[in-house]
Amino acid sequence: MITDERITSKVSELMETLDHIKKYNAIARSLKPFMLIIGGSIATFLALLTIFDIYGLEPGPNNPTFVGGFLASLIPLVGLACGMLYMRKQVNAVKVGDWRPEISKGFASTLKLLGELDWEKTLEDISMARFGYAIYSLLKAGTCLVVSVAAFELAWNSLTLIFLHKSVLPGAFFWGFIAVLVVVFVLGKDFLRRYRELRALDMLVWELRWFSVEFEKAEFQT
């Protein structure tokens, strides 16, 4: 029946959306380990730079410090890659689609799925997902910024050492500014998409709040 199919299709859409919420929540739950990985890599990078600075090790192409500096600059990048891989693993581990066999049974089964949903918890989950995703996006952008600063400094340092045989550093502020421009240029679309997702999550809370109130009123009328 066409009506049944339309309901099934719409409920499928709802359940798929809720599956996505599970994935967002996996991101929110994994924020702590992610922050540890990222924070650890940046702290290690800064500690190494401080050590080089304290011991006054002059960078130079033939100096082991140069190689050390190069390797140290890779640490935040490796940290970011590991953090993202960890997140991906957590998201991929989320079990989704367990409602599919039920929904294929028809209208009554869609009622069962809707009736079994804990709406309050679902709404809380969406809010948590939204918060977690926003924090994750900010952390990721921040780490990209640190990686960019490190990469630019390293590249500039290498060039000046090779061609001028001395280190000429314009300063962290300059590289910070350049890194912001590059990050905004490279990740601009990604930021926009993430912002739209956060808006969609916001709207979803309102939509589902309304539907859950209405669904409570559903009954067989004589």
Binding site: R6, I7, E13, M87, F107, Y133, R194, M203
Partner: protein, 99 residues
């Protein structure tokens, strides 16, 4: 729901819909067969049938066969339309978490 003799404190729409769907599909069934088809315990089914009979959705004849009435059919269609109307208004944005 206005009736005081609900099968449970909370009326399960799914169970009623399942009973009506089974009766629509298999036409007339006795209670044991209906319990098997719907996956309900016999006692639970009897409680639901009692309520549905009160509402005029089903009729139990003298041989214990359950018949779906026009009213039952109509109530089912109304609920389908009601759900479609409400769920049809939901809009889901494009969500695909990226890591």
């Amino acid at each position: 729901m206005s009736s005081s003799k609900k099968p449970n404190s909370k009326l399960d729409l799914y169970v009623i819909a399942r009973i009506i769907e089974a009766l629509k599909e298999k036409k007339n069934l006795n209670r044991t067969a209906l319990a098997t088809v719907t996956g309900l315990s016999y006692d639970r089914l009897v409680r639901y049938l009692s309520w549905m009979s009160e509402q005029g959705f089903v009729i139990l004849d003298t041989e214990g066969i359950v018949h779906l009435t026009e009213e039952g059919r109509h109530a089912y269609e109304q609920l389908v339309q009601w759900i479609l109307k409400h769920i049809g208004q939901l809009k889901f944005g494009r969500l695909e978490p990226r890591t």
